[in-house]
Symmetry: C2
Subunit: 448 residues, 2 copies
């Protein structure tokens, strides 16, 4: 009897827990689901004889260590900054740990000790990061084995709303951490293009966009992610001349989001005086340059050089940001005000279908010929609980846990899923859940 401890039972854990429960009988697992909210944990485990819901306070050392000590593998669905405490316990009791988060510096520093103690800390094992690593490495390894030389790799991913559930002019709803969407791209975006480092400052991030054609969907737009350069090392592509990672949105989103950026509404570094007394329109007025005339809508249109009826202005108006409704949140930052408003507007309805899209574009040379591979994944959700996002984050983690408990993963230490022994069986089983990349290849003229 193996015991799996899942810490955190929010929406992002729904498909993971369902997967583990489906396999509990056959595999002989007991699944402990712990959350601060025992209701959340109970909701996800109701009527399941192999599962147990627990109210868990991760700051309670005795309770937390007691649970970790009894488990064989721990899955942490907590926010990334909380993984370290769990990781220290996992080292103490020699337990494996799986997360879907980026490896932090402090977690990375545990590599040698984890390896020496024979435990696996598998991170970045969800969608992005996660499936992106696995699907990219599968193609990169195959290409290298065949003697190809990769000269360009661009990879894009977006959590979107599926067209049948779209009911707003942004073609967007939140399917993941809203705060990350609001603050996305602050700082600098760095990538490499034709051997030249490229930098896009935040003030240009949502205007210097690319249009991407996705087989089976149509056109999307992409803005550059913060740090593409780090992936050269992750993917063993230190010498690659072009490497870019980007985020996908439906056409028109970036131009409209850029209005918030230009106004300064995504800033999270200061609070607005009297924010609880202002209306949204008052607030927007505070950001409009002097000299524009009329009501807030007219002043904003003039500032943007837009007709009041333009598609861009339709998006802005739809958010409610030009209305005389009171903000009500005291001591709010601009980003906080925007997030609270958009969380109401961009909320998934119970039967909404979301969609994730991932696209890899490779250019490589082999035997004197230049070729291009497009590999695209489109996954749709079932509803607001089992979203495409929850499935694509949870299933690879669940599958990795199964492989690990079946002793089919030999790697130890702090790792990401870039090794064949992990990505091959995970991608294969994901296929049985309809999570399949469609690959197309074409020749490019060698002059291109």
């Amino acid at each position: 009897m193996k015991q799996i401890l899942i810490i955190g039972a929010g929406r992002s854990a729904s498909s993971l827990i369902r997967y583990l429960l489906e396999h509990a009988e056959t595999e002989g697992w007991t699944i402990i689901v712990g959350d601060v909210s025992v209701e959340l944990a109970l909701e996800k485990t109701a009527g399941q004889k192999h599962a147990k819901a627990i109210q868990l306070d991760v700051n309670n050392d005795i309770q937390r260590e007691g649970l970790i000590k009894q488990a064989d593998v721990i899955i942490s669905m907590l926010p990334a900054f909380m993984h370290f405490t769990i990781a220290k316990d996992c080292l103490k009791y020699r337990k494996h740990l799986i997360t879907a988060s980026y490896i932090s510096k402090e977690i990375r520093d545990l590599h040698d000790e984890a390896k020496q103690k024979g435990v696996l800390f598998l991170n970045e094992a969800g969608l992005d990061p996660g499936i992106d690593h696995m699907s990219a490495m599968q193609i990169i390894d195959r290409m290298k084995q065949q003697g190809g030389r990769l000269i360009s790799f661009k990879s894009y991913c977006g959590g979107l709303i599926s067209p049948e559930s779209n009911d707003n002019p942004w073609n967007y709803k939140f399917t993941w951490n809203p705060r990350n969407v609001i603050l996305a791209g602050q700082g600098i975006a760095q990538y490499i293009d034709n051997g030249r480092y490229k930098y896009i400052p935040y003030n240009r991030l949502f205007s210097d966009i690319e249009l991407i054609s996705v087989e089976g969907y149509g056109q999307l737009e992409a803005y550059a992610n913060r740090d593409s350069l780090a992936y050269r090392k992750v993917y063993g592509l230190q010498q690659i001349p072009t490497l870019l990672r980007g985020t996908l949105r439906n056409p028109g989103f970036c131009e409209a989001w850029n209005v918030f950026v230009r106004l300064g509404l995504t800033d999270d570094t200061y609070t607005i005086d009297d924010s609880e007394k202002l209306t949204y329109a008052d607030w927007i007025n505070s950001y409009l340059p002097k000299g524009t005339k009329g009501n807030t809508e007219q002043r904003l249109s003039a500032f943007l050089g837009e007709q009041e009826t333009s598609a861009l202005m339709q998006k802005i108006k739809w958010t409610g940001i030009l209305e005389n409704e009171t903000i009500k949140i005291p001591k709010a930052t601009p980003a906080g005000i925007l997030q609270e408003l958009l969380e109401r507007k961009w909320k998934l309805k119970e039967d909404d279908i979301d969609m994730i899209v991932m696209v890899h574009k490779f250019v490589y040379e082999m035997a004197g010929l230049k070729k291009e591979i497009h590999s695209a994944l489109i996954v749709k959700g079932e509803n607001a609980m089992h979203t495409a996002m929850a499935k694509t984050v949870g299933l690879p983690m669940g599958i990795a846990v199964k492989l690990l408990l079946q002793n089919r993963i030999k790697e130890r230490g702090v790792v990401v899923p870039t090794e064949k022994e992990i990505y091959e069986p995970v991608l294969k089983e994901l296929g049985t859940y309809g999570i399949n990349f469609i690959e197309t290849e074409r020749s490019l003229s060698s002059k291109e």
Copy 2:
């Protein structure tokens, strides 16, 4: 015999030290000038019988405390973050402390203890902050006493190059901390206008500018300072509908500086890979959006929508930022690269004359009439050592020290020079050094 200890003997201390030396004989002072560089301290005190130069390491507790213990008043010309150590010693030995820096939170927290121990910590006693407080309070206090109601206060200050020493298309040279110029305005500018809070994000700070006419000089442009709102409390103007503070530059500066902001060159939060191997032109290329063609100059002109010969492009080209010269600085941030380049270009020559300009614009109502007061200060430097900047920072500090040692300042605790007992005699004596505000008043139609 009173002892004055000056910590820090850089260029900014030159006029302060000269003032104190001029009064040492009459006032019966001994002046100790301490600096990490004993050469700097010696240079400023050469041949002066009332002065002593000392090599001082402020991190050496024994040496520092020994010097502070023997002094009657300490003047710290160190960077602001280093004042706290000095302030703690001053409390310990019950000594007065004078600085030209903004009061930090930790210094402010010493107020009660300083007051109780009978010592004065006079901060913000230079130019800006310093003379701005004193000259503004003189007018505000007078207006209140006469029964006027202030409805608008705008205050501007700039450290500029005097026209006769200008030899570059920016009409600018560094006369103060270059790093502050490079990073100026990052974050948000906040002020209040007609009872409405206004916010200008960094991406618009150098385009949402105002033109200011300065009596005796001509037109200057102004961008908003970071936090004007805090001055409502400092000046006792909690209810004022309009309060703005800004920084003055010669016309055309802000538009050109905004090119650096738009490109992202003022960012100090990340380092450029291989910066020591790149040329300036390579570096700028890394920031230009794809799709522009030609050499760096042509691509930049296209990005900006400018003719290659425009006044704006002349300014940019003059900096050398489009040239094939190697940057040479390893692991440099964009802001670091820009600063090193501009420090070479905007360096004062030995006999250059700098200029500081300060302008206050008040609108007030009295007896049913609306009036406007403009108060303007223009000070020119003598050379690159006794700059207008060094004079206007150093003289008010020196005068304050003299007043304090003559027992003419009764205030104690952590303060700024907004009390009449300080600003009146300081402003009066500044006048004897040619540091005079020219005040003009005119009636406004009561409809305006």
